[in-house]
Symmetry: C3
């Protein structure tokens, strides 16, 4: 239909050149129905444990999405008008419908950004909104979406099935009780697994460090004020995650620095951390040592280690103070990987049981450090383009820069990395289209044969993320 | 005409792919006749105040253009042979016609560079030179151009009209008397406005700092040896610029560092600056504080603040000593934006009246810092690709890298940033063609609808620079 | 033939777009038969002096190629299984045929990498292997290649002729005796020349520094423990290289730092270097001074100076300890060029007899520092994309980023930079195809005329490397 084509063209994101587009179409079709492997993301296990319907279009799609918030704020919209709750717990008086209208009026701001692509996919493919979103259609779309969300087919579990999600990893603090994961397991619901993210107990400068350490001690019965007790407590929590299906850890750090310090110095750092007297340099050293310890534990327990480095969090004090974390003011900074990882890689880089996946916000390190590292160390895999780079041209740059050094098979495929559940199919679809285009170019230039490109796109879509994250093929 | 097509092809710089080219042609045609908005550049108000004819092809087109000089020097041509005056005031004996011939013999060096595109446009479109420039046609072209320049239609004001310049901002020192701007205003000639560039009184290491400060004191009657007097003097000059139409300031700095120091420390730094005893670190601190003060004044008086950071000026001592500044030996260096701007943005980043436009020579910061900053802070806009990057592939990289994070609407459109008056239409035309191609790709890939692309190219051409620089739409 | 086209398509690496491909074909044909100018590489003069047949497919093509080794190791293959000798001299028990089979089984790993392109070219074009390499065809290919290598037409000199190599520079330590070069000269065999690479006597932290210095003293009769004697010894060796045809030096450094220290400090550094007590910072200072001295000697003796900077060598201790240097664990790091080269360029940058070619592993410096330097200093030329970037997209990025600032004529064309002799034609062919595509785009976009593109591709292929390395045109 002409109308449908305008809303969501079947060839969108494929190359403009007719010959390449034809090849790309065939490659895309080869994986369009492949299951979604989602080994890293920020959905909540509770959604699936409770299977409660989503509240409304605004609360589901707008308010929790920091990509949308930051763009609107950059053009003068206020968080209050967007209904973002304040850090003091007060809720803005903004009506969800008004927020939706505000968003619709500014929808042109997202032209050329992946948010536009994700939203259009969610609107027209998943939620079956019949018209393009504009100020004029805002109300109709809002009512349409809310009506859909009330239907049984739009509850979390129904969508999980409809999206063909093979596995979905959540991201959980080390001291989370994992009650919803336990409930899902008890029930026999398969496909939702936790990820061990211990930042709150490995970064002593986090405001929640002290309370998290107390909770860690309580949960595990360990004396976390001693270095061995602290490490044992972490081992115990990793084991608890593994018992509920976890295959990976995740570490969000400003620097990728690692260190292998003497035990006495570790204890001193911990002592100071416990009483809150660590300076910035020593806190960084503590984190560096903890990355090293996490690697050591991964060698032992087999959890794949992810490092996400380089985000300067909460850059704008005013936003942090008023609205709290994760509000769009995390800005990337240059990342040094080589010397930073040297202690860790020199010690564990060739351990057969060790697997490390690296994510960067500094694209200059793709060709300079990361592809050469992933293309040499058996333990290192290069993660997908992250955050700002999880977008068509970001993916194209990544693949073009990385492949000539590291090949395809030292990369980890795709992760959707989102808490926007309805955008998950859109993100995987975008990835598959863009990679189909990337490979079509290589086929058109006779660098790859078509049969090889088919194998590669299948690997990128399913095989490589399964392997990188040690996820079984459910049909194998 | 076949011949015309060879000299200046109507489809030049549009995509090679026929389908995309067709879309690009339509987008380009939509803005080909739009007025030129020129909010940042280095033309002289005197040209328009006096309206004197330009002297000859060499003095107009070759000698003042540091892009041309540097390329010729890189291949062994000497400044003396190019007629570049020495710093001691002595003028080379080079005959302008000989310089022109020398340039013509080396014209192949500019293949693949924007200079070639700008020059060809000026030659064949504006000056109607009938043949391609070669050693053989050099004399004929020289005579042809000089004859044109003697015609009334090639005087500055006639060209200003012919080029459809809506507004042209010059760049002026804080202590410039702005006499030509005053004369233009008195006469009622509209469209030429000054820009406040105070580097000579905010960078204590400039050789002209002391004389400039003396002039500042004299102009304003303030005691510039006291911190409050110094700031008041700057406020007074900004007001004088505003009275003559200025809407922006400009700051050329090596580092983007900003600082908010105690008043006593400011006074100490000023004391040392006044007697010339400031070390390099303290001089940098002084500049950092002054960026902060300029931002504060912008909040008060509404002047848009531009920062151009990262050029290591006068890298070759021999060239500086013999020929002076701006001779092609300014080389970019890495620029740290994030921590550098933090004091300024944390204080003024959300002020409704504050507007900051950032220009970089470090392309790695497009995706890592600048697009995320522009895509979050309401006050921050990302300036056009600057200097070495004001070229087709430079613009393509910029747009591809920036858009997915910051969208189109957090960028400032185009600035020609030149003192080469005859190249201004060429530069805007190049921008429009390249952006038409960029957008045509997005339309061909069904990422944007064609009607959206029309809106975007119009915004990039006219709407965004007007908004970013607070220039009124003259027809509104 | 359909079959041949699948193995090695005649249009491989040319643009997918039909119009651009047609232009690219014509440009490529213009240089397809041009001689190979090879001014920088790592072949051995002994091969040509002795003209002994190559041993077998594995020893020729696999074991010495660190690109292949690193990729296989990155996927869990061991050096021992690859037949890589250990640093202690023990040889692995791996049978060459088994290594070949192992390689063939993993050949898919090289999809999208230049190794695949080079290997396919060597297999099918040079060695006439009739089938694509797979696990199934491995044995047949191995036997086929070994049979070929035993033929007279596959000895080094026959291949040298067949490849149309105009000149091939080896890379030799300062204290190499150059016996094979001497023998070739005595015999009248033309086209093999040495390159002076003094790293072992200019980097005091090399394990072979002391023995190399002793050898230097012995060879030259100079007292290398005195600064003047040390420099004289180096001058003598440079003269010996020049006598055997050398036109260039090469310097492999972690940092590009240069220094011009007082003579007394030079002597102190040398004193400490001789007794092995130099710390890391002073060793770096020694190297910085030696780059400066090498530049000064180049001004005197006319040897072109190459700097290859930014490789962090032997990053994995385990690999270095077990297998030695050059095993795939050299990883790039960020390179600062501007302040680093300032002492050298400020002193020698305008010397008419000085020529400096810069090679980087930090692509961010192409646009920020290197193109602006090469586009300004008459002595500076920008070397070809190096190492990880000697690949189709690496070359495309380089040309796109560099040209708009430095043009084509401040670049040095292509160097194959390899010890994989059979890959040399493949590498030049790849370069010519990619540059034909780059230029075809500019022609299709009407930025260059076709006749200009012909001139440019000829210059890139032959003229510019000859000029940059001061190699005569043998037919001139």
């Amino acid at each position: 239909m002409q109308h449908d084509q305008i809303l969501l063209h079947p060839d969108r994101l494929l190359p403009g050149d007719p010959a390449q587009r034809d090849i790309a179409r065939q490659l895309y079709r080869h994986v369009v129905d492949a299951p979604l492997v989602c080994p890293h993301g920020h959905c909540e296990a509770s959604w699936f444990a409770t299977d409660a319907p989503f509240a409304n279009a605004t609360d589901l799609l707008i308010t929790p999405d920091h990509y949308l918030l930051r763009m609107l704020v950059s053009q003068g919209v206020s968080y209050d008008d967007l209904g973002v709750p304040r850090a003091d717990g007060s809720r803005s008086a903004a009506d969800p419908r008004d927020v939706w209208r505000l968003f619709a009026r500014h929808y042109h701001l997202f032209r050329g950004t992946p948010s536009r692509i994700w939203m259009d996919h969610a609107f027209h493919e998943i939620l079956e909104v019949p018209e393009a979103l504009t100020a004029d259609t805002a109300d109709a779309a809002y009512d349409h979406i809310n009506a859909k969300l009330a239907e049984p087919g739009f509850r979390p579990r129904a969508l999980f099935d409809r999206f063909k999600i093979e596995v979905l990893a959540t991201t959980d603090g080390a001291t989370d009780d994992l009650a919803h994961h336990q409930a899902l397991k008890d029930e026999g619901f398969k496909g939702i697994i936790p990820t061990f993210r211990p930042d709150a107990v490995t970064n002593p400068l986090r405001p929640d460090f002290t309370t998290s350490m107390a909770r860690l001690a309580e949960q595990t019965g360990e004396n976390v004020a001693t270095w061995p007790g602290y490490l044992d407590a972490l081992r115990a929590r990793r084991a608890a995650f593994i018992a509920l299906g976890a295959t990976a850890t995740d570490h969000g750090v400003l620097y990728a620095t690692t260190a292998d310090l003497p035990a006495a110095q570790c204890q001193s750092l911990l002592d100071a951390a416990m009483v809150g007297t660590l300076g910035a340099d020593d806190a960084a050293l503590f984190e560096a040592q903890m990355l090293f310890e996490m690697a050591r534990m991964s060698v032992d327990d087999g959890l794949v280690m992810q490092i996400h480095a380089g985000s300067r969090r909460n850059y704008a004090s005013r936003i942090l103070d008023t609205y709290g974390r994760d509000k769009g003011f995390d800005i990337p900074r240059p990342t040094e990987w080589l010397e930073a990882l040297h202690p860790l890689l020199d010690r564990f880089g060739f351990e057969p049981n060790f697997a490390l996946i690296l994510y960067t916000l500094d694209e200059t390190t793709y060709s300079r450090e990361l592809a050469p590292l992933a293309g040499a160390f058996p333990s290192v895999t290069l993660g997908a383009p992250w955050w700002f780079f999880d977008a068509p041209d970001g993916m194209r740059r990544y693949r073009s820069i990385v492949t000539e050094t590291a090949g395809f098979y030292n990369t980890a495929g795709f992760v959707d990395d989102t808490r926007a559940f309805l955008s998950i199919p859109a993100r995987h679809d975008l990835f598959r289209r863009v990679e189909a285009g990337n490979l079509a170019r290589l086929v058109a230039e006779h660098v790859l044969r078509f049969d090889e490109a088919l194998e590669v796109i299948e690997a990128l879509t399913v095989g490589l993320p399964r392997r990188a994250y040690r996820l079984p093929d459910p049909k194998a």
